[in-house]
């Protein structure tokens, strides 16, 4: 341990950052977890590199620094100054991208991955995606620093950034954006940032005063909270990108047709320097199959997201490079805990014991997914605790539990929406449940109908989602922190709480998690959450699957988040 190097960093670190450094030095965090946590807490990449080098100075310091460098060097380069030489000289060319048709390109209100992807071309976040695809990196904010208990965060903004119309980007734009998001009830910021919580200290600094301490705040104003794109002061709520094209990003919107596609051209004044490509062209699709067909027919070069089955041919294609990100994408099989056949915990556990999770992962994802243990703490989160035993298929136990609960010939309708592999999941679950004598009748509906009729009907309004069906499958997109899953789907009276789960023990554990800012405290709270959820089983959660995207090898430098946002500012023709 090279204490000299360590002390250099520790000297200028704030308490929260110190806590993380200590945890890493003591071996309680893996290197990957440390990089992730430290970036969120605002430690610069140089400092992170130094800490890693310091803590492994015995043998592998060059490689340690190199490994940090490898994953963060591009963002380090991007954070250094206002302009950066691009990695390749301008190669020209236009890349054609197959994307899901956006339902809305209103940056504040959009809920779908299609919209996230399009808006992220022109607009930017305070904290953007690093090239590795899973951490945050400086975007419109160069540096962020928490106070000692994580209640106040200070963001130093990048300077000399201009909007597409030439006007300067300032802290007022950030403040206006945040106010708009808070007023709209943005799910990531709800309960964390209140009205007036964002204040411009000067033209280049914004101070966020949070409702309570929160160690994950930068995630909530990053690419992982897709609506927090920074929009101009004058953007009134309800404005959409196509009506008023604007942005600070590398691409200016040239044409937009809600049905067919959009084109973007290079922003010559972008702070990151001129992009190698001249422009990007998005083509909209309604399903992934045709996207793959289009690629095979050489009509698109990149696909924003595809699933394992439609994209089967892409895995063996030597000319296609796949971007696979392990992600927290999952399905929740909710069961009403307040009334109906699943009100008894034993019945819910019985159903969970019929899941043959490895078989589901193999059949639906060809192995490209990770096991879920009926709770929402994905193993990729730094505070995941693996000590809770993984539930496996146990038909005998399921039958035992059912008879203990005095239930025989359980028959229920399994509702789901027509989305990706979900109908197939329902078919497989039906077959697996039948082995324990449970009869499930699968009912598939179109997605819009499903959300409004089975998952969270508008009536009765209070408590939210109390009109939900007894049993159903709903999809959840990737989130960099489980806050949204815990808050909306599982907390009592949560807005997406289709199982009407109401557990004081869980609510307390969640509160503990939310207010913990140290890594150890977060982990302890998560252990409680995992245990409670695994025992109560308000939702069955069999897997977290990988996010798959990719592009033809004719282009390089494409990277993507797990939320439909694909970045082309560093892309070039090969």
């Amino acid at each position: 341990m090279d204490y000299r190097k360590l002390d250099e960093v520790r000297g200028s670190a704030v308490p929260l950052q110190l806590d993380t450094i200590e945890a890493f030095a003591a071996g309680r965090l893996s290197r990957r977890e440390f990089i992730q946590r430290a970036t969120v807490l605002g430690l610069s990449t140089g400092a992170i590199g130094m800490v890693i080098a310091a803590c492994s100075s015995s043998s592998s310091s060059p490689s340690a620094a190199a490994s940090v460098g490898a994953s963060t060097a591009p963002s380090a380069a991007a954070s250094v100054g206002a302009s950066t030489a691009p990695s390749a000289a301008a190669t020209g060319g236009v890349i054609r991208i197959a994307s899901q048709k956006p339902v809305s390109v209103d940056p504040v209100a959009m809920q779908d991955l299609g919209g996230y992807g399009i808006t992220a071309q022109s607009f930017e976040f305070l904290c953007t995606l690093d090239k590795g695809g899973s951490n945050i990196a400086p975007g419109l904010a160069l540096k962020w620093t928490p106070n000692s208990d994580g209640t106040v965060w200070t963001f130093d903004l990048r300077q000399n950034v201009k909007w597409h119309d030439g006007s300067p980007f300032t802290a007022d734009d950030v403040v206006a954006t945040m106010e708009r998001l808070v007023a709209a009830g943005n799910s990531g910021l709800k309960g964390v940032l209140g009205p007036g919580g964002a204040v411009a200290k000067d033209a280049n600094t914004v101070v966020f005063t949070l409702v309570g301490g929160n160690g994950n705040f930068p995630y909530l104003v990053s690419v992982f909270n897709a609506q927090t794109l920074i929009t101009p002061k004058a953007y009134v709520a309800g404005t959409t990108l196509d009506k008023v094209p604007a942005g600070t990003g590398a691409w200016k919107l040239k044409t937009y047709n809600a049905q067919t596609g959009a084109t973007f051209e290079r922003n010559p004044d972008w702070w990151g320097g001129p992009t190698p490509l001249d422009g990007t062209e998005f083509i909209f699709f309604d399903a992934t199959g045709p996207m793959v067909t289009a690629y095979q027919g050489a009509q698109v070069d990149a696909i924003v997201q595809f699933d394992v089955l439609s994209g089967a041919s892409l895995f063996n294609d030597p000319n296609f490079s796949i971007i696979a990100t392990e992600a927290a994408l999952h399905r929740q099989i909710w069961m009403r805990t307040d009334k109906g056949q699943f009100a008894d915990k034993r019945v819910r556990q019985a159903l969970a014991f019929t899941f043959d999770r490895p078989a589901l992962i193999q059949q639906l994802f060809k192995g490209k997914a990770q096991l879920g243990n009926d709770h929402v703490i994905w193993q990729g989160y730094p505070y995941f605790d693996s000590s809770v035993p993984q539930r496996a298929q146990d038909t005998a136990k399921a039958k035992q539990l059912l008879s203990d609960a005095g239930v025989s010939n359980l028959t229920a309708t399994l509702h789901c929406g027509q989305l990706l592999e979900i109908p197939d999941l329902a078919t497989l679950l039906k077959s697996q449940a039948a082995q324990a004598g449970i009869t499930l009748n699968v009912a598939v509906e179109s997605l819009d109908t499903f959300y409004g009729a089975q998952w969270c009907p508008a009536a009765p309004k209070d408590p939210p989602c109390s009109g939900a069906a007894e049993l159903g499958i709903v999809d959840y997109g990737h989130r960099a922190t489980p806050d949204v899953y815990l808050n909306a789907a599982l907390k009592s009276k949560g807005i997406w709480n289709s199982s009407q789960y109401n557990s004081p023990a869980f609510d307390a554990a969640f509160k503990e998690f939310q207010t913990s800012v140290g890594v150890d405290a977060q982990k302890a709270a998560c252990t409680k959450i995992e245990t409670i959820l695994n025992d109560d089983v308000p939702i069955g959660l069999p897997y977290f699957y990988n996010y798959l995207a990719g592009n033809s090898k004719k282009f390089t430098g494409v990277y993507s988040s797990a939320l439909g946002q694909m970045f082309f500012s560093a892309a070039a023709t090969a």
Partner: protein
Amino acid sequence: MVDVIAEPTPIGPVVSPASSERSQARRETVRLLIRRPAFIIGNIVVIGWIITAVLGQRITPYDPFNQFFIGHEPPSPAHLMGTDRLGRDVLSRVMVGSRDVLIIAPLAAMLGVIAGTLLGLVMGYYRGTVDDVLSRIVEAFLALPVVLIALLTLVVLGSSPLVVVCVVGILFTPIVARTVRSAVLSERQLDYVTAAKLRGESGPFILSREIFPNVLGPTVVEMTVRFGYAIFTVATLSFLGVGLQPPSPDWGLTVSEEYNNMIAGVWWPTLFPALAIASTVIAVNLIADSLQSVLSE
């Protein structure tokens, strides 16, 4: 149609063209039909599918619903038609898939034919205001694109087999009605009808006993044609996602679930159900065509 004896119609009980004559004509028709290869082939195929529909899982090589092997295995001696994306045997699913289509399509066709025939009989026989009004409504309905209305209704009401049968049946009614009506129009002018009226027979009696048997020919042809259209339409609706729902092994649904995989070179889960649909509709059309040729001679 039926030849009328050219002599003055006597007063008193007069019998319509002898029923024995009619049944003799029928037997003759059947004999002519059986001679046509198209008719035979068509029937073989349809009956084949009916057998698989009725016997279902008893004769499939594997369980079409709960037995999962390796996904997307190409056709082999173990799996003659390969396996689908979840690893289920395609041959078993194709065999069982005939059941849904062979229940729903005929029901829909029959609903359309029965309703249409009744309507056509009434319209053609009574003429006058009844016919005028009903004709306008029928013509209006004829102008509606079937798939569009079916699509809308199914999306709104949810697609249960019952709704599919009703919607498709109702949408077929006007077409059948129009055919039956024209047939009735030509029949009603014939002398035996006038004779029956003079005898004092009531309208419904004439319709059912006299006219209907003589319009049976076109009606039967129409029914077979409708049957073919019904299969076609139900398959298309399933393909669009508003017909039968998973995990039904319905052919149209299977094609819509698997056709994207053809790009990856996995042609078998799509091709075999598609061929099944095509074979059934072709068979039914061959039967309809033969019937039409024989009955119009």
